[in-house]
Point group: C3
Chain length 138, copies 3
């Protein structure tokens, strides 16, 4: 078992950050040949998933998340706490903070068009986000 924590800094709500290279590096450093890599973002207004890292589809994903949690409706979270990030929490809970990917022959075994991404969902800009990566296997 190999553990590596890395940090990325977002600039604004809706940022989607490609983590694929960081994950590949962690797998290489781990020395694991066959197994899995677990990724977890330790924040309640960010999430992890996979997507083709292409600007068009990233914009499409943002629009779809806004169907689920629109900008222009009141949030009970915002009424209580005044954070303004009710929609951010809701989107993060839906997509989820956890992702596990296979490792095969010492390499990340995702599809060609399947990049690992962090979704910055918070309305408050310029956040530092910590991702905990655990590589397990043989």
């Amino acid at each position: 078992m190999f553990r590596k924590t890395f940090t990325v800094t977002s600039s604004q709500e809706g940022d989607i950050i490609d983590l694929t290279m960081e994950v590949k590096n962690a797998i290489r450093e781990s020395g694991v040949r066959n197994g899995v890599a677990h990724l977890f973002v330790q924040h309640s207004t960010a999430a992890l998933t996979t997507i083709e890292f292409e600007p068009g589809v990233l914009a499409d994903l943002k629009r779809s998340l806004s169907v689920f949690a629109p900008d222009n409706v009141p949030y009970a979270h915002d009424s209580r706490w005044g954070d303004g990030n009710g929609r951010s929490h809701v989107k993060a809970a839906l997509v989820g903070p956890s992702l596990m990917v296979p490792v095969s022959s010492g390499a990340l075994a995702c599809g060609t068009w399947q990049q690992i991404v962090l979704l910055e969902l918070d309305v408050n800009a310029g956040r530092e986000r910590t991702v905990c990566c655990t590589v397990m296997g043989e």
Copy 2:
């Protein structure tokens, strides 16, 4: 590898139950210092995710899940089986039954505002829900 199964009882549709303490207890009992904890809810009308356990944002999440699977539309599942929980199945399939979190220095390594929750999505009240927790590591 350490396995612990625990049960929670919901009272109604939309209940969101904080499992963080149960997971912390399982990690402590496991003796694992560094690794991961996997959680899985063994039911098709409940789901697991993380969220800030604050009543406002829990209400916001429930509303957003209803955008996806509204109360006031007919469900093919209900037409066929008369269960009335078509929307429950759909929400559960979207959010998912599985969650994995990191364990670091013998403790749960989530963010401060990131609690582990079970979503009771079934319309039939008072359900007992079994969660299978597996702690792996060193």
Copy 3:
């Protein structure tokens, strides 16, 4: 740790394919008694989740995914690349490519009404989809 890769072929967009038997077979072949099985679909327009494998609820899930990513809106991905599968990418990123299930006493430990499924989300028909299954435990 045991690794098995299997392939399924879909016939059209919206196909939902039951993988439960393949996963049970992989668990049996692995010889693992207690642990977890990780599943990962190596494509950006397919996803994995659990659901009751019943035609009504499968139709309900498809409708709900279309709320989030409708057929009749323009996608930036399609404008740029002309693939016509912008909605497919968006749905896949939301549901996610990864699923982990518990193994107990040598058997898959899901609920009775909880089947493991692959969602074929691409608009381009007849795709071969590879799922990487990793069984870990004792």
